[in-house]
Symmetry: C2
DNA sequence: TTTTCAAATGAACGATCGTTCAGTTAGATC
DNA sequence: GATCTAACTGAACGATCGTTCATTTGAAAA
């Protein structure tokens, strides 16, 4: 009979994920050893292999979970209305989803080269879906005449880079409150694509 | 008497730098061994230590050289005229300097966490100088009334992220020629900060 | 109380790591 | 041709790496 309550794995499994994410975000995948992760969790290194096939899979799972959670949250946001409203919604969603998760964002953008080619391809599919959601909005605004960009794909890449950059320098408790920064980014994006 | 012509070090030294840069850009600092670098150069690993004190210094030197070359090139660009002209000049300079150097850009932005705290602080000073050059332009345009941004510092960080993002996805021989992409980015930046 | 097995230990595997250094080599200098 | 020395080799150092596995542990199930 499988143990259903108080099972150690229910506690240890998420802790492995959490400590791996924290350490990899801080020191990088290649610089973090399985022994370091185990020490932070409070187990011996061998115990980690009850929860992951190998180190590579642990990294991939962290990145895949992040991308799938991101896409699910975007779906739940249910962006509606005209292109302008949808763009506002996307910008707000992006900022509010990413800022509280600096470690996931950092790992998902910095450790791509440490994925095997197969795993890399699978993450790229998910990332592309997210980019496409923005491009669809830009294309809609273009046909509605409320946006004017020379190329929706280039504008998409540019805007996502602009938005994601915020995660790299924003620190809570900084000079400006989050709401104000959100408004500034909203203004920059609106103007950049305005007709 | 020191050998002045045909000295092996005149050949080996730049090759060590070049192969280290190439490998680190591809696999990451922590994932590249001194033996890999030596093998690419075509020497034994011990020979590398004629050219660098240790692996950390090799990384730091690559990043410092990049930042100093960047700042020197920016000085040489001699941006003049009104704020609008200076902003155009900065955007063009940034794109034209960074795009031919994807490896330097990649390493300088991705390997910051692998620097010792002392070396990190020294690189940050250089990076801040570059950011400040753009912020001065934005502040000038703000007082001249040709730009309108809610916060010059936030706008600076946002624009640099937007511009640097180009280096991450641009591949020569892609769908659009470089000149066209440059024009698209120029339009996005101009509109984003427009009064 | 006894049984059961998920969960974790602890030790070991071969491989690789950054770094050091005594010794060899080969080209410029005399 | 002899001398000199910058440049490099080749071997070694202790440490650490990812991964495996027989064994132990302890709490739920019987």
């Amino acid at each position: 009979m499988a143990r259903k309550q108080g099972s150690h794995s229910d506690i240890t499994r998420p802790r492995v994920r959490a400590e791996a994410l924290r350490l990899i975000a801080r020191y990088g995948y290649a610089a973090v050893s399985m022994r370091q992760i185990a020490a932070e969790v409070g187990v011996q290194v061998g115990a980690l292999y009850n929860y992951t096939a190998d180190k590579q899979t642990l990294l991939f799972d962290l990145m895949q979970d992040h991308m799938e959670d991101l896409l699910a949250a975007l779906q739940s946001a249910r962006l509606e209305g005209g292109a302008r409203d949808q763009l506002d919604g996307f910008v707000r969603f992006h900022i509010r989803y990413h800022l509280p998760r600096p470690e996931q964002v950092f790992v998902s953008y910095m450790e791509l080269r440490n994925l095997t080619p197969e795993n890399f391809a699978r993450i790229e599919v998910l990332r592309r879906k997210y980019e496409d959601a923005l491009e669809v909005i830009l294309a809609l605004g273009q046909t509605q005449g409320v946006f004017r960009v020379a190329d929706t794909r280039v504008a998409t890449m540019a805007l996502i880079a602009l938005l994601t950059g915020l995660t790299n320098w924003y620190r809570s408790g900084g000079r400006l409150p989050l709401g104000e920064i959100e408004q500034i980014y909203l203004d920059l994006v609106r103007k950049a694509v305005a007709a």
